[in-house]
């Protein structure tokens, strides 16, 4: 089967891989919306949605009932509803941009996936090879470049809606997203300073950041620390990145852009049906990708635990079972993807918990926090690590 | 189908520059004029990258870094000026900004 895969032409391979990744991202984004409702309910001592049933599936003795209580079929019901609702187009909007905006929301959200590695497999020599759609050497730069295009959907949606709340929301969006991008980029730099220590080929690749955290690092700076996650080495960087991520993905404490209490949902006030659904899915896709980047940079990527890299885990499995499948590329690849996705889902759970824990900042507080607190902190952090890395480098 | 050569890139860059220039000359809205200016800058970066690629040096590419930096600074200052101007005069039409004339 593996041989068959490698015999396919590269274009077909790329197409299949892309479809597979989109086929994973989309359901995850959909399920996240469900998880959001469930987590919200649980935090508020409610059971949450648990009624929708698909015939036959739900009649499976125990599992069906469990899935129903989990509210899984509500995803289908929601999706179906969004598809078949009347897709209204208000009369006072700029039609072209009004329709374009939700599409523009999806494009960067799905395109960033190509730049994020999401797993690794063992090649013949026993080395871990990262799995990803685009083996881009410019990893993090590409992520920032493409995801920075996401702001257009919000701005255009607000502008094209031609009414007050969306308009205010889009003004806020354009300012807030630019502001936090700065801190985000600055907080990431120490990581790449670290892995680009002298004697290495320069890289901005996310897979290389994971490689360091896998402990398979050769030469360069601090070889003995391999296996440590950057989240432990650079807690401040991780913290700044996390806060900026909340602001960039437009999540509570920083969801002033669509704050329903003062802006009635802001940029999607005038939207309904599937166009609204696209915004919704794009927001979750952004969250998935953003969490993925955070995990890759600061959370050890596809390594199960700090100081326990994937290669060790596979080695132990092989040692324990003695079976050949434990080192088969397919198994290791699947294992790494499962570990990575589990971490990403944990991150998303964290996003949701924060949503029900922290009240929303006022807009001026958001701007003040971004420019007067986070940005100087990020710069100080960068300088500190630049000096520290120059100091400890052999 | 043509093979893209240095000349093609230069022609394209010149055309872009000319379009930007046209915009600066002919438009009345300060924002559009500013965008046309940026278009001219981008045209010059395209020429630089093309030269750099076809001469197998890196200097052109490095220059583009500087152009990008200057452009970013220029946009920030320029837009701030436009906003300040709008606050004073409540217009963005450049031919209405003629206080020195009268």
């Amino acid at each position: 089967m593996v041989d068959l895969w490698f015999q396919l032409p590269p274009l077909v391979q790329g197409l299949l891989k892309g479809l597979a990744v989109i086929g994973v991202i989309f359901p995850i984004a959909g399920l996240c919306s469900m998880a959001e409702r469930k987590v919200a309910a649980w935090v508020q001592d409610r059971p949450g949605p648990n009624r929708a049933i698909v015939p036959w599936v739900a009649w499976v003795p125990l599992l069906g009932r469990f899935l129903q209580r989990l509210g899984l079929f509500h995803v289908l019901a929601d999706g179906g509803k969004m598809l078949f609702k009347e897709d209204s187009l208000p009369g006072h909007v700029n039609k072209f941009y009004f329709v374009l905006a939700p599409i523009l929301a999806m494009i960067p959200a799905l395109t960033t996936v190509t730049t994020v590695p999401f797993g690794a497999y063992l090649d013949g020599a026993g080395a871990l090879v990262p799995l990803g759609l685009g083996p881009l050497d410019l990893g993090i730069l590409a992520v920032f470049a493409v995801s920075s295009l996401g702001v257009y959907s919000l701005v255009l949606a607000g502008w094209a809606s031609n009414s007050k709340y969306p308009f205010l929301g889009s003004v806020r969006a354009s300012a807030q997203l630019i502001s936090y991008e700065l801190s985000m980029a600055l907080s990431v730099l120490p990581v790449f300073l670290w892995i680009n220590a002298p004697g290495r080929e320069g890289t901005l690749s996310l897979a290389r950041a994971v490689e360091f955290q896998s402990g398979s690092w050769q030469g360069g700076l601090t070889p003995g620390w391999g296996g440590a996650w950057f989240g432990f080495l650079m807690p401040l960087s991780a913290f700044i990145f996390l806060v900026a991520l909340f602001a960039e993905t437009n999540r509570t404490p920083f969801d002033t852009i669509e704050s329903e209490s003062d802006l009635v949902g802001s940029f999607h006030t005038e939207y309904g049906a599937f166009k609204w659904g696209l915004f919704f899915v794009a927001e979750y896709a952004h969250m998935v990708v953003g969490s993925g980047v955070f995990i890759l940079l600061f959370g050890g990527g596809w390594n199960p635990l700090p100081w326990v890299p994937l290669a060790d885990l596979v080695g132990w499995l092989h040692h324990l079972t003695g079976a050949a499948w434990a080192v088969a590329p397919l198994f290791v690849g699947a294992l790494s993807i499962v570990i990575f996705l589990t971490k990403v889902l944990l991150m998303i759970f964290f996003f949701m918990m924060i949503r029900w824990t922290v009240p929303r900042f006022r807009y001026d507080q958001v701007m003040k926090l971004g420019w007067q607190k986070l940005l100087p902190l990020a710069i100080a952090n960068l300088i500190f690590y630049a000096v520290a890395i120059a100091w400890i480098q052999p | 189908m043509i093979t893209a050569t240095l000349d093609h890139y230069l022609l394209l860059s010149a055309a872009l520059f000319a379009l930007g220039f046209l915009g600066v000359l002919l438009r009345r809205n300060a924002l559009v004029i500013f965008m046309s200016l940026e278009l001219m800058l981008v045209a010059s970066t395209l020429a630089l990258v093309a030269f750099s690629r076809f001469n197998r040096t890196l200097d052109g590419n490095v220059f583009v870094f500087f152009i990008l930096t200057v452009a970013a600074a220029e946009v920030a200052v320029g837009l701030a000026i436009i906003v300040a101007l709008f606050r004073q005069r409540h217009t963005l039409q450049v031919d209405e900004l003629n206080a020195l004339k009268h």
Binding site: A145, S174 | R27
Partner: protein, 171 residues
């Protein structure tokens, strides 16, 4: 360097440049500018300048055009005549057009229209190290000047965006 891709991106860039200059609506112009930037980024990729392509997207598409849109929304659209056809502008335009045509003509006549496309130069492309070496050796002074320029620009913007009486803080 695929010719088809070059044609595609060149056409996209030119068409959207025309869009920037000819559009009455400022938002349309800004979106055309964005599209043109995507085209230029594509051309950069054709020229093996991957890093610059992404930097262009990051700086221009991610920040500059958003700033334009922000200002457009802040100040509100202006429904007046879009063109300024003063005699000076027309003459200037004609002269510039003539110069451009002359330049094109000389390129077409004297230019080597079909030199062999060289293969990728070492160090050009996604590799970061050559850029870094250039920036911090040959071009160290310009880098410092750029840093200073950015600082001055920042201060300038802060001063400019204060209201005259100094009550409002910088955004």
């Amino acid at each position: 360097m695929s010719p088809a891709l070059f044609t595609l991106f060149a056409a996209l860039t030119l068409a959207s440049a025309v869009g920037v200059v000819a559009n009455k609506n400022v938002v349309n112009a800004a979106m055309c500018f964005l599209l043109g930037l995507v085209g230029v980024a594509g051309l950069f990729v054709q020229l093996d300048a991957y890093l610059l392509a992404f930097l262009l997207l990051l700086v221009y598409a991610g920040a500059v055009v958003v700033l334009f849109l922000f200002i457009v929304m802040l100040l509100g659209p202006q429904g007046r005549a879009a063109w300024r056809l003063t005699p000076g502008a027309v003459v200037g335009g004609l002269v510039a057009g003539a110069l451009l045509l002359a330049g094109w003509g000389s390129l077409l006549v004297h230019g080597r229209l079909d030199p062999p496309p060289p293969d990728g130069a070492p160090g050009v492309g996604a590799a970061l190290k050559p850029y870094a070496y250039q920036l911090f050796t040959t071009y160290l002074l310009p880098v410092q000047v750029m840093g200073f320029l950015l600082l001055v620009a920042m201060l300038g913007v802060i001063v400019l965006s204060r209201k005259a009486d100094g009550t409002e803080k910088a955004p």
